[in-house]
Point group: C2
Chain length 439, copies 2
Amino acid sequence: MEKALIIAAGKGERIKCISKEKPKPLIKLLGLTLIERVILSLKEAGISEVFIVVGYKKEKIVEFFGDGRRYGLRINYIENDEFQRGNGISLLKAKNYLKEKFLLLMSDHIFDEEAIKRVSNFELGDFEIGIVVDRNYPNFIDLGDATKVLVKDGMVVDIGKKIENYNGIDCGIFIVRDTAFKYFEEALSKGEDTLSGMMKEIAIRNKLKAIDFEGKFWIDIDTEKELKTAKKLLLKNLFKETDGPISRYINRPISTKITELLVNLPISPNLMTVISFIISILSSILFLKGNKFYFLIAGIIAQFSSIVDGCDGEIARLKFKKTDFGAWLDSVLDRYSDFFLILGITIGYSIYKGEFSISTFLIGYFAMFGSFMNSYTAVRLDQIIEKKGIKGIRFGRDIRIFLIMIGSILNKLKLLLLILAIITNFISVKRIFFLKKEI
Amino acid sequence: MEKALIIAAGKGERIKCISKEKPKPLIKLLGLTLIERVILSLKEAGISEVFIVVGYKKEKIVEFFGDGRRYGLRINYIENDEFQRGNGISLLKAKNYLKEKFLLLMSDHIFDEEAIKRVSNFELGDFEIGIVVDRNYPNFIDLGDATKVLVKDGMVVDIGKKIENYNGIDCGIFIVRDTAFKYFEEALSKGEDTLSGMMKEIAIRNKLKAIDFEGKFWIDIDTEKELKTAKKLLLKNLFKETDGPISRYINRPISTKITELLVNLPISPNLMTVISFIISILSSILFLKGNKFYFLIAGIIAQFSSIVDGCDGEIARLKFKKTDFGAWLDSVLDRYSDFFLILGITIGYSIYKGEFSISTFLIGYFAMFGSFMNSYTAVRLDQIIEKKGIKGIRFGRDIRIFLIMIGSILNKLKLLLLILAIITNFISVKRIFFLKKEI
């Protein structure tokens, strides 16, 4: 599919207090307006041309997006001055613009971007229309306001806000064909001006195919409460399956809070990567001071840099700015950070002790190498974890830096290096044998 | 395509002296028989069922391959007792077995395995037969004996051993359809019993599509001289685009010689990886002896391990035993080798000098880290090199180990560490900026 239609004409009255100046689609949520998220999800799913049905405060939307060049796709506008009527009218206004199969989305629905990719690859039968249905709808859904559907044998047989008998919720994502417009018009002639009323016309003909929602979350934002829930869902979605325990329970909860603050500023993910690197280097330098107090400060700063290190990827994901180079740079600078940290600890401890003992240096060598091999073997390990969903504690940088903080606070740097040297090398060798079976 | 036909019925008289006991397809070449190479290439191209037309000493071939389970595909045999006649007869014998589109190959043609993958994905028009044609035939081709073709507008318009006017050579790889058998029979009724005679029948009807040979090499093995050439071509094909200069001009020429000897023994690629690792560890231990003579020996052994390190991949490629784990293990053990080598040099030098100076240890740290970052950044660099075919000197492990040998022979270990520390780190940082543009 190459084209998509977004309905953005409505007034969004239930969320008026925060949208007095601008229409609901332009409400900002974690660095992007609601409709920007929809458009960028479509872009990632390979859509090259988007039609937006505008109505209420349409000039603001047109002004905001222009021809879409900034987003790497073409954006066209379809006017709907009857936006006070049901949202089905908006769909009908698109009749003369879309002469093929297209995706239909709402400007105020938020979902994880993977969901759209899957839907756009869904194969429909002849003359079928697809409707994405959530069969395991979560508890934050306002069931009173949601459009319910009854699915039988993969087809939607009934749809509406007020149906009694239902087993799924309409997620507001559709695959529509131009051949269906005549049925939508038929619905209108019967007095049905809502989208669900028009879809019912298709359901009656047994051509409304249910597509299971397989994304991580979706939400229809009608109220401020739902806007807050959407924010929570987007932030929760930043937790990664490959996060280690320290990352999951300490770093991510804090880094997502920082990201929440930073995401509205014009800070690029790569800049965040460099900032986190600089903080880590600062920690390394403080270790060189060679005394207890600075060790403590350096350890805390190291842990702080490890937390901030999560923000680059989080900002990138929230703002659809993930790049191959960004991910690569992050991992390369992490290796430099690790190197300078362990070097700093080794030298700092020697200064503290007033002697350069060979044992300290040797242990430092092994700790550094083990840390490196940990990351080197993690690339393959993470591929396996993501593919097979293997659970268990992943020993990674999050734990290493956390140990550095603990060791620094306790002023047990040599013991720290020894523990790092042993654990990291043990884990790396263990992974070789583990991956021999798994690859 | 799922099926392939291999013609292996002929007597191969011109190479008799070395095939007295066995038919030509069973002649061994670098660890595999000629026909095994064809079968394993087909396997890699996704073919699941192979038909072999057998004739001369057929029982030996059947005994050798059985049902093909050992190779991960199904092998069936078609008997052709008229193998003294032209090879077109072998093709006709397959008529009742192949009711679809299939690949047709000769059992005595060797080519790089990528070629078959490309051919099997080639899209033909209705009723077309595909013939792989080499338009830039190399000088080792026996033009007197080769089947020549004349290509016009992508179609073969004439084919035969004795045509005067030609612009390509038939490589012995075809895509055939069952619908063509009636034309082959027509050719036979005209007295044509060779494959090229039968293909001419298709060419006359303007349905013989020329598929450009896009592999690295192919050769038809009819004589002992050609067998030797095939060996050379297979070994030359082991040189990799990402090989650094030391690898290309010193290590590969030697390692391929070693591989040539080892490939007939039951040594697995992973065992070779471990052997090379052990040799490298031996070198590290010798450095610890802390005297000039042992440094020299250790340096030479390190370089030797670097040479042997090429054999695992070479054996794997020659015997179709490449695995993801093998490639991964090789790179992981290389990191361990690097670590122990630089550690050995650092400690060995300190023992030699009789003092543990902090500068030696620091330089060692940086040399080790730089070596590591070299390999860490090389993964991405090599992807770019392979994709874009970028030329230039690739600073990698081959050069690092070579420098270690030179430094050890000259007994300049501290200078060596310093040079490694500077060059490796400089190169790694440079790559970050290079890859920023390229990724």
